[in-house]
Symmetry: C2
Subunit: 485 residues, 2 copies
């Protein structure tokens, strides 16, 4: 790894001034023109795969196949946002003609969403493509029409620089305004970017302490700005008695695969799994004990994981079923166990996210008492239920899931977040700092847009999307009716 | 005014526990059932007009006719939210069937918006009905399915109690869960309500210092929650040379009416008006000087206004064109003047909101230099442009408006906010603390909802709105296509 000097405050000023200058130009492009920019970036990243994938594999300690798959997800995501722009319904355009019969005085009012302005993005260490430099936050902010300033993740600086180079060249080649995208480096530059007067919003994926510190900076600004942080989640999994009886072996195998995948370094790793206390864990223990050791992302992740694992395994209420083997930087997965009463009593410690290859089985005696977990679970990205359709407890467990999480999974595993129209990757704090939104899927774009209404503005001076002749063919809600083009 | 003891911390706990208990029950009602609750509240408020209107008039020092009109707006708003619920598109329901050909592994994913949980509402002094106990925040939160706890405004405590009584009785009579609505009193109870662990969001309309203090409390919670504050705005008005030449007299008359309306106690009062420096202000000065004095809302507003007016009129860069007359609690409107250079230089002071009957004319020499105001204007609820369609400067002024405000008004006045589908009453800070949203219009409901996605959940266990047979007839976006029922 070569080191580069951190971005200085003066350089950061210049970067944000260029971003602010680019903002109105980027916003003035038609959605279709911005779609072209996103496709150019996607094509360029695909074209640079042979250079980027080895860098990612080296810096994140991942197999090349995984990095290649993740790059594919990243460019798919960019192209899906391009399609979202062309569809146009993301603009939430609405036209209310003047109406003297209305219940309040009603002039002609027309609404559209407009971009917020420069967005600062902090990517994650564990997804060097999909949640990093050209990942979901950057893609959705650019799609919205916001210039993007990425703070390079220190876990993959070479990849960040190489990716940013590809993005900037592609944008420039496709005619994007200068300043639409930039990379800055260094922790202090990141903090200054959050508090910089020209920054209009922040996207962040990372740890609870790191995210909360930046959230606090954003909230304490003289002019607070939206902070979209995806922080932490233990992704509880509930397995009912009936499900365990019907297909216990399959469930435990799936659990081990999901928990150990990528050395447990997923924000959606099933960290806590509720199993009947009489479930036979013999095969599960053997499965965990057999798994190979693998490297963690970087030293900081390794240190944090070791601290978390020590806290869990040293806790008097837990029993270590499988102690992960630790050779150099490589860890094999650990399996721990507690019971429901202990979990409820020591929730603060036992429900803290332990990022890495460790997971906690919670043995329960009374299935109905599982619902008491609702009282101690904080906000989650996901809640999973393994049950049978006629399980008496299943509806209540699904409702519990919906009450604390952004995604409820049935008879599956939370790892793997599909990039689709209906996806939610979000949830109440500390899953995220902005429970109204998702960071994955097409509606992630909504985070970087705000509504503006135009009152009695003549046709010739209205934004194109709001003119009667609708030259861009944007779907619009006219007088509250279902949107039409 | 009778005084009531402040709500104690123990009473507040009980209120929020009842609200939290009501939350899942209220959420489980169909949108149509919740529409029935809102209509019952609207009917009951209309039925209690003879009792409520005189209370409002007495406590807010407004004419009865105005209070009656405002009550009508309030019940219209409740009924419009009822219609929004029946329409169902506010749920943003989406269905993505499983697709093996998709760019990422894609199971069946279905999304719907769900209510956040208990919402605490702080109403405004200047709209004792429409932005208070049963006003827009309460209506939109209830519509979303969130229990509401209103902190009574100390400016109209009797009205708050009477209104809350009507609302609670109507909800109870219509079968709403107990705890769906409650009133608390006292500043300390309000602060505790914002930091209470069971509170999931806050709606606030009021001053910048008061709103910011509560926003800071919400952001500093162990689990931060959304805070929707509508704080302050000077609502700049730009009058071009051409508009002034074409219809100067009419514009100045409209300006005086809008600025003096309701003793200037509107969040949308035109506080700063840019006029050509050679405009003849004689008629405007005479108009202001002739206007009758009227009472302010309460002593606190009067004190704040006097302080603000002193700061403006005592500033070396301003000239007092009309000094408002002050008799007891009654004030007539004041008119001040400065020039564009002074405004740009002393923006911090001269662009501070002065809530009450005072407004500042900014004389400009060079029309093109008006655009420099963009550099000093903070976030606004509204920006107004008076121009001609072929005005060369009009497009840039409208764009300036869209860049800082939630609503851009052409050849009209910002006072008066229509309750419609396309309305935005919001804007960047300090206009609001949440620029993505509006507090007026049907989309105000979005503030109190968050998305939840259901992955691979079988038909019988899905929320009704997401089942294939769509028994409630909710519009849904299937596989990204335009919503259909």
């Amino acid at each position: 790894m070569t080191t580069a000097p951190d971005t200085t405050p003066e350089e950061l000023d210049a970067v944000l001034e260029r971003a602010a200058a680019a903002a109105p130009l980027l916003a003035a492009l038609t959605p279709g023109e911005r779609a072209g920019l996103l496709r150019a970036v996607a094509d360029a990243l695909d074209g640079a795969a042979d250079r980027l994938v080895p860098l990612a594999a080296e810096e994140a300690h991942y197999p090349e196949a995984r990095c290649k798959g993740e790059l594919g997800r990243t460019t798919f995501q960019l192209r899906l946002f391009a399609q979202t722009l062309e569809d146009g319904s993301y603009l939430e355009a609405a036209v209310d003609p003047a109406d003297p019969e209305w219940g309040t005085p009603r002039p002609d009012v027309r609404r559209i969403l407009v971009p917020l302005g420069p967005v600062v993005v902090f990517g994650a260490s564990n997804f060097p493509f999909a949640f990093a430099t050209a990942g979901g936050d950057s893609a959705s902010a650019l799609a919205a029409g916001c210039p993007v300033v990425v703070k390079a993740h220190p876990g993959h600086p070479e990849l960040a620089r190489a990716t940013a180079g590809v993005v900037v060249d592609a944008l420039t080649g496709a005619g994007a305004p200068e300043g639409s995208f930039a990379l800055v480096e260094g922790m202090e530059a990141g903090r200054l970017a959050v508090t910089h007067p020209l920054t209009r919003a922040v996207g962040f994926t990372g740890s609870i302490p790191g995210g909360r510190a930046l959230f606090d900076l954003a909230a304490a600004r003289p002019e607070p700005i939206p902070f979209y942080g995806e922080l932490g989640s233990v992704n509880p999994v509930f397995v009912t008695r009936a499900a365990m009886a019907a297909r216990g072996e399959q469930i435990l195998g799936g659990y081990a695969d999901s928990a150990a995948m990528g050395s447990g370094q997923f924000c959606t790793k099933p960290g806590v799994v509720f199993l009947p206390e009489d479930a036979d864990l013999g095969a599960l223990v053997a499965d965990f004990a057999d798994r190979a050791a693998g490297p963690l992302l970087n030293d900081r992740v390794a240190e944090g994981f070791e601290r978390g694992l020590d806290a869990l395994s040293g806790h008097p209420a837990t029993e270590v079923l499988v102690q992960g083997r630790h050779t150099g930087d490589d860890w094999s997965p650990s399996l721990l166990r507690t019971d429901l009463d202990s979990l409820l009593e020591h929730a603060d410690t036992l429900l803290e996210e332990c990022f890495g290859p460790a997971t906690l089985v919670v043995a329960y005696a009374d299935e109905r008492r599982l619902l008491e977990a609702a009282g101690v679970l904080r906000g989650q990205l996901t809640v999973t239920v393994h049950g049978e359709e006629d399980d008496p407890v299943a509806p209540a467990l699904l409702a519990l899931g919906a009450s604390v999480a952004g995604r409820v999974v049935w008879n599956g595993w939370p790892t793997g977040v599909a990039v689709t129209y209906a996806m939610t990757h979000g949830g109440p704090y500390p899953a995220t700092t902005a429970p109204l939104h998702t960071s994955v899927g097409t509606t992630a774009i909504r985070r970087f847009l705000r509504p503006v209404s135009f009152q009695s503005v003549p046709q010739s001076l209205l934004p194109r999307e709001l003119r009667d002749d609708n030259p861009l063919g944007v779907p619009r809600r006219v007088n509250g009716a279902a949107p039409t083009v």
